[in-house]
Symmetry: C2
Subunit: 129 residues, 2 copies
């Protein structure tokens, strides 16, 4: 989890991740930043996402529908994933219970990820039509 150097592209990825509410894929970030840096390559995005994750500056939400999702928000929170549209939303975690998981009999715990899956509001409405 060493620090990471700065670079134009890396900083752009980091600040984009910090500024959006959604939980983007590498491709989404690539498409988005290409508006600003038309020569940005997808490989660079992947490389930097990994570097930033390793450095602990961002975190991975895990794989949703075959693509990894990233999150610039480091505060403790969970995620709600819609099975239908793939949207990922932040969920507040009740402090109770979760904290108790911090260390178990299996080893040293360094991260907790809580993922709820289901159908989001929008998709529930669509389904009723």
């Amino acid at each position: 989890m060493g620090a990471v150097r700065k670079s134009v592209k890396r900083d752009a990825i980091l600040s984009l991740l910090r500024s959006v509410k959604c939980h983007p894929t590498a491709e989404w970030i690539h498409a988005e930043l290409r508006k600003l840096y038309p020569d940005l390559s997808l490989g660079t995005v992947y490389r930097n996402l990994r570097a930033l994750t390793d450095a602990g500056l961002i975190r991975s939400v895990g794989v949703v529908d075959g693509q990894e999702r990233f999150d610039g928000n480091l505060a403790a929170h969970g995620h709600f994933v819609c099975k239908s549209c793939g949207a990922v939303m932040d969920v507040e975690l009740p402090r109770t219970g979760i904290a108790a998981l911090a260390d178990g009999p299996h080893g040293h715990v360094t991260g907790v990820e809580v993922r709820l899956t289901g159908l989001c509001r929008e998709c529930m409405d669509k389904e009723t039509e």
Copy 2:
């Protein structure tokens, strides 16, 4: 979540998953069952894992190191994932707190997955060497 028919290969996959404590990948299951059914193909394993998951007879633990892990244990529990060796172990969840997540403001929740990541006992020991 419709029911699934029975078939020799599918049943074998299901009972293997129910009998093991680990949380296998498709490849591991394939290798294991090949001892019994030398003609079992990997495609069939993938196909049946998906069918069983859709039917709700098994569940996916999510992707660890690029491979999906499956679990035959349907009881509510979380998982501890070792960053170093990739081992996945069951974790008991404190009932408090988790139940409160059952429904949120984002939509209808149908599944909860809690994943702890860290270093397992074995890998902690190895690291001290």
